[in-house]
Point group: none
Chain length 420, copies 2
């Protein structure tokens, strides 16, 4: 079974926007054994969308569109789909009421233009949208199926998982693609590839063939393994074997084999160890605390954070000695250690983290260039009670912040693993 994906929206034809919805949809379709034959991106232009939809429906079993279901004049997908299928458009009063209620629940009046979102091509099945006002639409045309989904990823994804997937499942064949994501830190892309590539050929030639893609971003490497099999259990076993191979080759650098992020892995280790953590951060400006608290339930182990952006804050709230800052500079190992111990002792937690550095673009010097970041981690009762490392990250401000938080989380992870 073949599918095509059409993203609708003029903003996706500018130099600054990209269609990422199709990646999610492709992954879900592949999981149930549906191949993607083509992806098209069109602007809010009726004639072009009409021609593209006609061609896609002529050659593909399934056509999925995203976007163009909003309330405004340039939201054209519903109308054009109706024209392509030669059916009239009706106004669905139940949808009007639902949209009105949604606005009223937030204390707002529904603007009249939102009635457009209740336009339904005749014969279409409505797909509920728990996260927005526009329902999705499911239409059949000869042997082909046309599904219209909203553009905002949050609405599209929840609608796909709640209703679209199970409707597609019986239409798909028996072959399935099963994927697993392995996450690695502490190595470059080439060093990871070098370590793992000996296994690639073996995996590809197994009874359940596995293909491998390597992706790199922001201090994190991902290996994507894809197994093809009609049978979930044998795919799972083959992926388990490949995962075990990778663990042997990469050791502790492999930190996640089940989709968990680094902050989730660290959080789970803290919970397992019954330990609480507090953060004192300077150049990362709150991003480290924010990543830790992105995890639901993180209040179990996250006690407090300080964004000690000024020297005064480091002195007053963390007890860093003024003359230590004067002697070594705010970006130094003694200061990072004093920040980590300061936040640990003042909040009475088990693990304290101190991060100080130069995120740039200003503030660098020859000895401490932009990208210099010092991370210290301290654990109550350990001997020695502190680990500290100085990094030199490349890239601009946001990249330095992001790599620094990744490095800090990774030091905590490795230490907690050792004493588990």
């Amino acid at each position: 079974m073949n599918a095509e994906i059409i993203a609708v929206g003029s903003e996706l034809l500018t130099p600054v926007r990209i269609d990422t919805n199709s990646l999610f949809i492709t992954e879900r379709l592949n999981e149930i054994g549906i191949d993607v034959l083509a992806k098209t991106i069109v602007g809010d232009d009726r004639a072009t969308l009409h021609a593209v939809l006609m061609q896609a429906l002529a050659r593909s079993d399934l056509v999925i569109t995203t976007g163009g279901l909003g309330p405004t004049d340039d939201d054209i997908t519903r109308d054009v789909a109706a024209a392509v299928l030669s059916v009239p458009v009706d106004i669905n009063e139940r949808i009007v009421q639902r949209i009105r209620a949604r606005f009223e629940s937030r204390g707002l009046r529904m603007p009249e233009i939102n009635v457009r979102q209740a336009h339904v091509p005749r014969g279409a099945t409505l797909l509920d949208n728990p996260n927005g006002t526009a329902p999705g639409l499911w239409m059949e045309h000869g042997r082909s199926v046309l599904v219209l989904l909203p553009g905002p990823p949050r609405e599209m994804q929840s609608m796909f998982d709640a209703v679209v997937r199970e409707r597609l499942q019986p239409m798909a064949g028996s072959r399935r693609l099963y994927r697993r994501t392995l996450r690695v830190t502490g190595r470059t892309e080439s060093h990871t590839e070098e370590a793992v590539r000996s296994a690639y050929a073996r995996w590809a030639q197994g009874a359940v063939p596995i293909s491998t893609t390597i992706l790199a971003a922001l201090g994190q490497i991902e290996l994507h393994l894809t197994a093809q099999s009609p049978d979930a259990e044998s795919a799972r076993l083959a992926l388990d074997r490949a995962t075990a191979d990778t663990r042997q080759l990469l050791g502790i650098d492999l930190y996640s084999t089940d989709g968990r992020t680094l902050e989730q892995v660290v959080g789970d280790l803290l919970r397992e160890n019954h330990q609480r953590i507090a953060i004192a951060e300077s150049c990362t400006g709150g991003l480290l605390a924010s990543r830790l608290t992105d995890v639901p339930g993180s209040s179990d182990y996250m006690e407090r954070g300080v964004v000690a952006y000024s020297d005064v804050a480091k002195v007053e709230w963390l007890g860093v000695a003024e003359d230590m800052i004067a002697a070594h500079g705010a970006v130094s190992e003694p200061v990072a250690i004093a920040m980590a111990r300061g936040i640990r002792d003042r909040t009475n937690v088990d693990v304290g983290v101190g991060v100080t550095g130069i995120a740039g673009p200003g503030g660098g010097s020859e000895r401490k260039p932009v990208g210099t970041v010092v991370v210290a981690v301290t654990r109550r009762g350990a001997n020695p009670d502190v680990r500290v490392r100085t990094f030199r990250f490349l890239g601009e401000r946001m990249l330095v912040k992001s790599q620094a938080t990744q490095a800090a989380l990774d030091i905590v992870r490795r230490w907690l693993l050792e004493t588990r």
Copy 2:
């Protein structure tokens, strides 16, 4: 003049790869006044590419493909282009020699399959590739132009800039596209559209026509204005007028007309007012401080942040009264106000912000469901010295965090604007 971009390669139809070549090409085309009408991504499949090329050539003046010019069997772009244009394919001996020499210069023998890269549809003009073996190809078909470029960005980009751009320039005519982004907060997409749409038609029909696209994400609306003109100065004036119209229609809700983010706008207002800010945040977990410190130079006005994730932290470090938390709950207006005043007074800054709420998925109740967030802002010396608002955001944890930070920044912005 209209263009289409077609990316060829099965790897671009997997869940992990994306076509980014088209962003570069779009930017270059827009600069010389050429609009992109559609982008298509097809796998290494002859029938699909044939149909897509036919349709694109029928409706567009210019079709640019990337990829599929390599030496292997699945590199099909040359052959399919020749079939679409109904011309035979010749082997160009000069290209064979050049490729052979390129291999020999690296001490390698040319694999025989590389002869494929010397296949040239009859009548095509060769485009030199300084960074690789496959030349690009320029073909004309009736009034349309078809350009085949290699897929590797380094080869494609240098070929575009070295030869393609100057060949397109005279065809493009004198019209150019100029863009401006207007950012809005405090209104939904529909409410923004309702307020501005009366101006759309006037802008579109001006001497310098302006088209408008509206985009919504996470408590922020963007209006993208695109002016078409042969003359930079008259485009700038037309965009200035449209910006002034929008400001009149949206008032203070329009917060950026020059590409600045909300955190940059707030930062600039703080600097202008010689005021310093400190943040006490609970449910946003450090994200508010992190956004403020994403701006280079933010240490000029950002003094400190506290991630008061536990009640103890609110009491110990912000001076929130325990019985106030017991009486009203941690997520309440009195507590948010006490947090804001607490951080302001303890850090001796001008502006204090307190954020407390329920990011979810746990912790909600009927009276205070997930998504309830209270934001308080206090200013030293103002009368009254505090503004507080309770929000109910929709969506999951990360979305609640992000909308809450947007709302907090916006309250600070509005207040600072009033007293400028």
